[in-house]
Every structure is written in C-alpha cells, then in structure tokens.
Symmetry: C3
Subunit: 336 residues, 3 copies
C-alpha cells in the first residue's frame, strides 16, 4: 500500500481532520513506537499520557485529544474502530489466486467454486463444497458433507471432520478442529460405551475461530455458533453448545455440553461454563471464573481469589478450609 | 441404515417392549426434537417433564416411564447405554477401504497390514507398524518405531512422534499429539539444559483421545494410559503419568509429570493434577479444581469459589486476603 | 550408542568418580527401575530412600550420597544436569539427512540452506528462509516471510503463519502455531470489527515450544520470546506479549495481550496472566493462579483455594459468599 494523504483518509472514513491535510501516512504504529510517517491512535485512556510525546504523523482520537496532541488529529467517536479500518489499508495481503494447487487431493464428488483457492496438501472429501472466493490453506482437511461458505478463509491446517456448515466470510486459524465427535459416554457393566455423535456444527456468517480451538459436533442436533461470534485460540466448545451472535470468548476458555450462551456475551480467558445451563445476553465472565449455574441477569460475574504472596496465601487458604466453623463461632445459632 | 421395526430392535438388544411392535424407526432424536419416525430416550430425570409431550415414535426408558409415555417404550435398566447401541445403527459410516492412498508417503521399512486404510497425505516412518483394519486418516504422521494396533482409528491429522504404542481399537481425534518430548529441564549455570526424553507412550485397548490433546512420552520409562480410558479434547498429559483403566477426563484438564491416577476416576473439565502424586481409584474431581496432594480415599473433591456478581465477589475477595487476621480476631489465642 | 566405561564418563563430563571405573554403562534409568548395566541419578531428596535399594550400575549424585549408595557414584554439584548430559549419549537420533523430500512443496522464492532437511508434505512459502542444518518435519507449513534460523528443529506439523522469525536452535513440537492473527476486535455499531494484526513473532535462540502451543503475532510491533525460554504444551501467548530470557512456563498456562514477563520467571501449569501488566524477573507463579496486577518484587505468588472433600468445600464456598458480611460482624466499624 502506498502512502496516503491525511485529508484523503479523513474523507474516505468520514472523519473530521484537525491539522495539516497534506500530511503523508505510510503506515501505522502505537503512540510510543510510531515513526514520523505513521498514524497512531488513542482509545484506552490509560495511554493518554503518551499522547504528548508521540512522534506519530497524526492520530485517530476523540475530540478531547485535539488540544493535547502534538500532531494532526482525525477526530472519531470510536477511535479504535476507525483506526482498525485505516490500518487494514496497510496490511499485506498474500496472493491466494483461484484454483486448486497441484498437490491438493480433491474428491470427484466435492464441489469447488472456480473462484476458490485450494492450497498445497489440502484434502477435500466426497460431498464437501467450497464456496465462491473461499481460501483453503495448506494442509486443510475438509471432510465428508462439510460446506464452506463464500469468502471463508481457512488459513492453514484446519480440519472440518464431518457435517460442518460454515456461513459466509468465516475466518479460521491453523490447528482448529471443527466437527470432531462430542464426548458422549455411557457406563455399562464397568466399561465405557461410546454414544454416537449424529449431529453437526453450524457456524454463522462473519465468525472468527482461533488457532487450535476445537468445536465438537452435536450428539443429536447441532452445535451452533451464531453470526459474528469471535473465538480466540485454544477454546473448547463441546457438543450441542449454542453461542449467541456477537459474543466473544478469550483464549483457553471452554464451554461444556449443551450449555447456551446468549448474545453480546464476553467470556474471559481460561473461564469455564458447565454443561446444560444458560447464560442470558450481555453477560461478562471474568478470566478463569467457572460458571456453575445459569445466569439470568446481564452483568459481570467472577469466581476465584486474588493473587497473593505465596506465604500469605497459604495462611488464607488454610482458613478457607475452616470457614464454616469460623462462621458458626461468630454467628449466633438463631441467626444462621 | 434403513428403518427398523421396534419389535426387531427389542429382540436385537434384549429389551422388553411396551406398545406396538410394528412401529417403524428411521432415526433417533431428543425427547424435544424427535420426529414421529424417530426413537428417543429418557435417562436424566431432569428431562422427565418432556416425556409426556414428545412426538417420538418410541422411547428407551426405565420401567417407571411406561405409564407416562405417550408412545411405545423399550424398557431398559440402562436407557442411555441401550439408546447409544441403537443409535449406532443410524450413524453414517464413511467408506475407509483397505489400501494406501496414492498421495501417502510410506517408508519401505514400515509394516502396513493389507486391511489397513492409509489416507491422503499420511506419512508412515521407518520402523512403524499399522495393524489389521486400522484407519489412518488424512495428514497423520506416524513416527519412527510407533505401533498402531488392530482396529485403531486415527481420524485425521494425528501425530505420533516416536515410541508410541497403541493397543487395539484406539480412537484418536484430529490434532492430537502423542509421544512429543516431555518437558524436562535442568537449570545449569543460568541456562536451561534439556533432559533427554528416552521413554515412550503406551495406550491400552479401547481408549479414546480427543482433538488437540497432547500426551508426552516418558523421560525414563513410559507414559501409560490403561485400557478404556476416555480423554476429551485439549487435555495435557505430561511425561511418565499413569492413568488407570476406565477413567475419563473432561476437556482442558491436565496432569503434570509422574502423577498416577487410579481406575474409574472422573476428572472434570479444566481440572489440574500436580506432578508426583497419586489419586486412588474412583475419585471424582470437579471442574477447574486443582489437586495439590495425593488422594487416598474414593470420593468427590473440589477447589475454587462460587460464581458471584463481580461487585460482591470483589468484597469477598478482599476479605479472603485478610482471612488469617480475621480468624485470629475471633479465635481466642489458646484455641488456635 | 554403545556402552561406556564409567571412568570415561567421569572424564568426559568432569565428574569425580567413587568406585570401580571399569563399570560398563549401556543406558540410563530411574533409581527404582534401572537395570544392572544402567546409570541412574539422585537429585530430588524425595527419592533418597530409593538409593540403598537401587540395582543401577552407578549413580550421579552429590557427595553426601557416596556413603549411602550400593554402587559407584559420579559426584556432581548438579546431579540432574550432569545426568541429563550423560543421558543424551543414549538418545536415539533418527536420521534427518540434508535435502528436500520429493513430496514437499517449496516456493521458488524461498531460500533453503543446502544442509537443511525438509520432510514429507512440508510447504515452504514465498519469502521464507530455512537456515543451515535446520530440520523441518513432516506436514510443517512455513508461511510468507518467515525465517527459520540455523539448527532449528520443527519436529512435525508446525505452522508458522507469517512474519515469524526464529533464532538459532529453536525446537518446536508438533501442532504449535506461531504467527496467527492476534485477537484484536473493536465493537462498532453492534458488530465486531477485526483489527489488523500487522506485527510478527520473534523467538530468540535456544527456545523450546511445546506441542499445540500458540503464539500470536503482534498487532503493531512484535510478540517477543527472548532467548532460552522454555514453553511446555498447550500454552497460549497473545499478541505483543514479551517473555524474558530463561523463563519457563508449564503446560496450559496463558498470557494475555501486551503483558510483559521478566527473566528467570517460572509460570505454573494452567496459570494465567492478564493483559497489559508486567511481571519482574525471578517471579514464580504457582499452578492455576491468575495474575491480575503487575508484580514488582521477585518471589512466589498464588491464588485459588485448597482441594477439599466436596461436601466440606460446599460449606466453605457458601461462607466465601458471605465473607464481607461476616467480617463486618467481627470488626468494629471504626477499625474497618
């Protein structure tokens, strides 16, 4: 991407410019690291102190920043989002031309749109279909009866096992596995009996699925990820889970079987949600918390204890074990 | 699978039928979703209220359900297990015919049973052996001196690094890595020194290993998974761990080096077991608990705190830090 | 490796020998399992009681062990490290000869050192470079503009997505994904907007990265793993994290975006570090703890509660919810 004039960026993205429109922007950077030909931004007030000293050519920021900034400002009501849009101009886009790489193996019973890109060592099984403009990167495996919608991008080494249906523009990072068997077991006369997993996985439009994330297919019925859900790396979604539109989950979080998560939820890193429960819309779960019961009110929820020096922690931990007894000592019996 | 008469299912699976034997069953479903030609089941009492309204053609259930059900009942003492057996009749089984795919790379020093299926882009290294009827899916890598027993099924993209020995009928889901180096390090003059990992991994008959699960090989001696162990997705098993027969671990749980887990244990999702300790038979660990000491009595064990509204949680969390001091205030010195 | 005389090992590794130098060593084992031609070691005092009964031909141990051992002793000030060096003599080293496997796909715009080994089904994209003596195992994918330094070993199925730069002698286990998009999102008018991830990943010399570990590339600027960092399996490192030299992280731990971890830190299994904070040098975090604020003093830190019998735990857990109220009852108002 060649350099852009600031005035041209303002016009393209509908932002008000304070300062010299002829300023040339050749890239983007943080307030701290941006060079004199780069655009930066201020969204998190935590970094406001860095504004005065930035060497950036210009910044995207809210109106209040105009007086503090030592450079031109593109005024935005959502500086992070507008910066993201402009930054995308400077993102290298490796060529992924239409066509099937000579090393790929494609079943004669698969349907591949002529505009799709199928990379080296990709395997497309019988009954699979790949939509217009989709990119299937190296070492991907698209199993029987899987559908990849138009504009999807499977970066590399993504495995869709069976009965997986991706909507449009789904982005999946390497190592993700969708449609593996759910973990269904019945104990029978001292041995485990495998419960067949007859359902599939449905992923809505515009979802993003992180590296090494796993989404199992349903036992009876489907596992469903609604549109615009964003999953970070190493997330585990068990069979028959449903995740509502526009929710986002941070790395290493996990949801057990048949749980339903609402829309616009935020699940923190390493958090867990037990099976067969429901979380309503607009719930935030903080990092490494465990959801053990249904949540019916929007809000922020937590479990765990604060980080402490290990010696102090050991003392508190011992007392935690005695907590019921201690409580009984201070609460008169009639009040309990 | 074509439709089955209910009377025929009763006979095949040794169940007592209450109701019309000529009922035709073309598939399976939940009580809530089953259509008029599908079989359902009732195992978890939580779903009993759905029985009266089910549209299912018939259900597998215990004897008490006969009076409540609006349809024929296959009476079972273990409805979930018997339903699983019947459901397996309706599971699509993609063809995995014997033979080596033309794109696979097989070392001349590997032994492949003639009845095994080797899929696209599979790599079988020198000294590896693949047993009768085994299925090695696409993109699998079977490293030096690994043995895959008869009837094993490596779905796709499974990596056996070195010195891995699988028993019969082991099922492994995509992304699993068995036999990678254990994490052995010695600090020496301010730098880490790698400790060679000379052992292997032994997996017993009828185990199941989930997607993206990792099982490291032993440092000295082997990491051992006994027969009929069931591991969900994204589980981490460190070097020299031993897991007893018929135990099951839920997603994202982890066991540190040289820990020994007994038989018939149930390890909840995200739970952790520290290294060099022992857990006896028939222990249940609840989700996201951390096992920090050996367990010598069967039972259920937990750690953590309950989920709370974040503001309330912050208050409790602050008090947790003061817990020893608070306890001292209420417990007279002589009693401490 | 053929058998070695004990006297020769003592000389090679600079250790003092107590006992018969002609003793022949053909392998290594634990104190408990070593056979009469194997070398063992004592480093952890926990295993001292096993010393008297060992059948090992000899042991590596500290000077105090000489009187207790029933066999010759190689006296060491760091028995674990010296044992590791000797054990490496007995590690099988599969051949990885220079050259590109006939099944690999290498872009004409990639640079591959003539001494490097490129395994079956490896894909090397345009602009990538592979250094002298490097080993790229089966099913690896080395993306655009990635650099693999001399002596690196990517065991199998490692994916470097884009802008990843590995120093010398980096060892990466199967399933690891480096350089995937960081998890950057802006909420804009009720939908997520993806924030471009324009940075890369830099990994210093002598690092080890475990199976299925993920290290995202930076949003602006790079994610940096300094030299001699050791990462176990299934670790998640988010964008723009920096991990200081000689730190080690155990399995399933995770670090959120832009956090900085110092040198010589030890992060326990399943532990989490929130984003945008700093941990100074020589900090230990115990297993499954969550770091929620910056740490400025070296030491050991913890969170969580101890493992308890589930019924007892439930009682303590209920009281935890009441903790603020209980505390108020016992602390006079003026002291609060």
């Amino acid at each position: 991407m060649s350099a852009q004039r600031l005035s041209s960026l303002a016009e393209t993205f509908g932002l008000t410019l304070h300062g010299a429109g002829e300023t040339s922007i050749a890239g983007v950077g943080t307030l701290e690291s941006a060079r004199a030909d780069q655009l930066s931004f201020l969204a998190n007030p935590k970094y406001r102190s860095q504004l005065a000293d930035t060497a950036a050519a210009a910044v995207v920021a809210s109106a209040e920043a105009v007086e503090l900034a030592p450079c031109p400002v593109l005024v935005s009501r959502n500086p992070y989002a507008d910066f993201a849009r402009i930054a995308a101009l400077f993102e290298p886009q490796p060529a992924r031309p239409p066509g099937v790489h000579s090393s790929a193996v494609v079943s004669p019973d698969a349907r591949i749109d002529a505009s799709a890109h199928i990379g080296p060592f990709a395997f497309i099984a019988a009954g699979a279909s790949i939509g217009a403009g989709a990119v299937i990167g190296s070492h991907c495996s698209i199993g029987e009866d899987c559908q990849v919608g138009p504009g999807c991008h499977l970066v590399a080494r993504v495995t869709l096992v069976t009965r997986v249906r991706l909507g449009a523009r789904v982005l999946i990072h390497p190592g993700a596995v969708l449609g593996a068997d759910g973990f269904g077991l019945a104990m029978d006369q001292g041995r485990w009996l495998k419960v067949p997993q007859l359902g599939g996985v449905i992923v809505g439009d515009d979802c993003e699925i992180g590296a090494n994330t796993t989404i199992d297919r349903g036992a009876l019925g489907d596992t469903v990820i609604e549109e615009d859900v964003r999953l970070d790396n190493q997330i585990q979604i068990a069979h028959n889970v449903r995740i509502g539109a526009h929710s986002a989950m941070a790395g290493c979080s996990a949801v057990a079987g048949s749980a339903r998560i609402g829309r616009y939820c935020l699940i923190g890193g390493g958090a867990g949600v037990l099976g067969h429960l429901e979380i309503c819309d607009r719930v935030t779960i903080t990092a490494m918390s465990l959801v053990t019961h249904s949540i019916r009110e929007p809000g922020e929820y937590s479990s765990g204890t604060p980080l402490m020096d290990n010696r102090d922690w050991r003392r508190s931990a011992v007392r935690f074990k005695q907590l019921d007894q201690l409580s009984r000592q201070i609460t008169p019996k009639r009040e309990r």
